[in-house]
Symmetry: C2
Subunit: 506 residues, 2 copies
């Protein structure tokens, strides 16, 4: 690979959406399948999901949540109970109507084929989300205030029949976790919603090295059926926004629709207050668009399936076995004696019978944080050739083997921090304050506009009109605004402390 | 609870199937849902599944398998490709035919309701198993012998529209793992099938404390489309058999149906040899029927969500805080300083404001291996009151706190072994050798007949006739027979080394 060539064609600059597809392909993470809009998550992509899953799961359990599992299929009558919710998902539901197949002979061709039979009296919907089916269980489980809070999480597949799909970011079927909790009071339920909102913000920052903007959604952008939706919004390299995780305070809406009641401390029957919250395999798409470069995937060490890959360089037969043995010994030492972020370092030795260049570029494209090569001379000198994914692909450094073992956690930690810092600078450079409608309108004319932060006192109708005009949305009303003094709304001129963050989104 | 009463009514003796339902309910593991034949797995049941999952997953990864994820929905045309396979699953497939809902006004009542719309040109089947959809991916992934073996596993939900269901043992939707592998040669694929077969046998024995009989299925009992099926069969307390895990050598059947070809070492295009194998949430049902008693669930320590539960006994306000603190300190010490089977001991302190008797019986019914009580006098004397689930519920022993900490792993290990030994004796007592048709026929007249081991040289038709007559099946042709000398078949008189194991099954 020459100096000016990149491993991924096209580059981000040339064609960002196509670059994204090529990064996914080059890292061998996922592919489209024969099932409309559904992807196959390949081992490297799935290993990433397993790390996200186990690291998040620990945090959920540490905050008192328990996992459970609820049916995939929701009776149609359940979905209908909360009207706004049903309407929100009606256009994208996969519906099961039959429960058998029968062989039929085609009269014209004479061929046999299978056709659905055994029509169901009530159709089922494949869960697009599980508020209704989990609510039905909650209504059985909760009797008294002593049964509250009920803190449940489910790891599951869900299905939304999306028309335009993109691997990881928007697929008909996706994997996610969905938390569902029930509480005695509004205050407790809102506290839970904010707890998880904060947990998502931290998880993205500390594990995925993605600095989000956290805030509330406006009414127009709320989850169907929610009283309040909190979101964490990531800015990716084309300056678009990705909604990376949402937490909803559902008030008593679902409780009323599903009769989730309890006997309160005063002996009266009350409705519970519920919340729901989720993140999905969309996080993987976000991660790619946030960190990958023109040579492929770049993985934050904390989440990488392999943190160190060791490639034996074996030009001659007579030193081959010794080099491989030495690589495996190094891997074993790293796994046993060192740890990073509370886990043994994840090390892989690539012993495949392939050229060194082929292997090197494969691991570059897969985004492994640290690559080590060990050849005959390194073996003799007890050195390793160290290459870091956060540096140019041809940069290398020969370091003492013992020194590397000592410093490995430190290097991983440095890379993790560097990715976060780089993206934080990028995000902050691309959020502009704006106080006039003229500037606002002009901003969205440019090719890759960043986000705008504006004083905002407009109505939902005014928000929707602006959104439509510029193909943008209010991503959120940020929680922590550096400047929250009274200011005139850029549109209406009304005085407000509220700030709205506008951007184009995936 | 009086001396003669049991926590579960009815007892195993009185009504085994109903006893089973009551154990599941008393341990709060699962319940039926509004979705026909589908269960809700509650936190205690799901925590058990998480342990099964993580412990099995480690074994799969240690033997070179990688996890991936494939679509939930299978195009009908894919299922049809392997005829025998399609026929085997046709009567129990949930079929998706529409992808939207529309609000419709009922002419008579004037009410609105939602109805399916957006008819699909090709229906999809919710995966009953994934050979066909994974085979489609394999046909894209495999080009050369260098791409083999391909060793993939998926953790997923699957759906089989069963008519009669029973929590965990037979449900329309269930959770499982399905391994799918492709190999260059028949020999390698058969080796893989047997490797997993052995892994399942070991897992049931060493983790679930269930001694199985491992063997081959006869042709009549094979997986639809398989050349050979291996099974591990568990005997539960009513002496029925549960097929706990199967591994299939699929030959080139699926490879031919789906064009999974590769360029071999000699440059010629060949079909791969595939395998598939799986265990499911059925393991939980097996575990319950194997070990639970008339006071509820009994959990093998290795798989128990909590291995030790500490109940503070706080009759007086003035010692309450000190006792709770002492319980928490003990829990922390156990977690930090001791481990069992390679993991920190799982300890829970039950601080709920409930009577001691209520709590005690709850943990008995949930099957926790070790219960500890600490009251004011124990605190003073640095003692704990130790109760073991493998002993009678009212047996107790006061032991030094430090001694308990030292011995905890040993006690857990003893309980694990005891459960296995007890069930091994039971199984062996209830497998009888049988060499005459008269004895064979008489055997199945009794109320809870055990299994029969017979020399067997009959045909599939003869097997099916006997099966139908006595409502039994050949569970397997066991791998390791103590006696495999030539003997006359009990039915045909033909000389054979083959032994068949017959039993009634769930």
């Amino acid at each position: 690979m020459g100096k000016d060539r990149t491993a991924i064609t096209p580059t981000r600059e040339e064609d960002f959406p196509e670059w994204y597809q090529q990064v996914v392909r080059a890292a061998d993470m996922a592919e489209n399948s024969e099932t409309r809009g559904c992807m196959v998550i390949k081992p490297w992509g799935f290993a990433l999901w397993e790390n996200i899953q186990s690291q998040l799961d620990t945090r959920f359990k540490d905050t008192g949540h328990q996992n459970a599992y609820f049916p995939l299929l929701i009776p149609l009558s359940y979905l209908e109970k909360e009207a706004e919710h049903a309407e929100g998902f009606a256009t994208e539901c996969a519906v099961v109507t039959h429960h058998r197949l029968e062989t039929e002979k085609d009269e014209e061709s004479g061929k046999t084929r299978m056709v659905p039979t055994g029509k169901l009296t009530e159709p089922y919907v494949i869960r697009p989300t599980s508020e209704t089916i989990i609510g039905a269980a909650f209504s059985r489980w909760v009797e008294s205030y002593r049964d509250l809070p009920l803190l449940i999480n489910q790891w599951a597949n869900v299905m939304r029949w999306e028309m335009r799909t993109r691997l990881f970011l928007r697929t008909a079927e996706f994997l996610w976790q969905e938390g569902h909790t029930a509480h005695e009071t509004q205050e407790e339920a809102e506290e839970e919603t904010r707890l998880i909102h904060g947990l998502y913000e931290e998880f993205l920052r500390d594990h995925l090295a993605i600095p989000v903007v956290a805030g509330e959604k406006t009414e127009a952008e709320r989850f169907p059926g929610a009283v309040n939706t909190y979101t964490v919004e990531a800015m990716v390299q084309d300056k678009k926004a990705i909604q990376a995780g949402t937490s909803h305070y559902l008030g008593q809406n679902f409780a009323r629709a599903q009769e989730i009641t309890f006997t309160g401390r005063n002996g009266e029957i009350e409705y519970v207050h519920t919340t729901s919250w989720g993140v999905s395999t969309r996080l993987i798409g976000t991660l790619i668009m946030a960190h990958a470069d023109d040579d492929g995937l770049v993985l934050p060490p904390r989440i990488a399936p392999q943190q160190v890959v060791i490639v034996p360089v074996t030009p001659k037969e007579d030193t081959r076995d010794a080099i491989i043995e030495s690589c495996e010994a190094l891997a074993e030492t790293l796994r046993r004696e060192q740890s990073y972020a509370g886990s043994p370092i994840r090390v892989h030795v690539d012993k495949r019978d392939l050229g060194g260049g082929v292997k090197k570029w494969e691991w570059v494209k897969k985004g492994v944080p640290i690559r080590l090569e060990i050849g005959p001379r390194d073996l003799e000198g007890r050195k390793v050739c160290l290459q870091r994914r956060d540096q140019a692909p041809n940069e290398k450094e020969f370091v003492d083997r013992e020194e590397f073992i000592r410093n490995a956690p430190q290097i991983l930690s440095e890379i993790q921090q560097l990715l976060l810092d780089r993206l934080t600078v990028f995000r902050d450079e691309n959020i502009t304050s704006c106080s006039s409608l003229e500037d606002f309108n002009a901003h969205w004319e440019s090719d890759n506009p960043g986000w705008l932060l504006t004083p905002w006192a407009g109505s939902t109708e005014e928000e929707e009109a602006l959104s439509k005009e510029h193909r943008i949305t209010i991503r959120c009303l940020p929680n922590n605004q550096q400047d929250d003094t009274e200011a005139p709304c850029f549109l209406t001129g009304g005085s407000t402390r509220t700030r709205a963050l506008w951007g184009r989104a995936y």
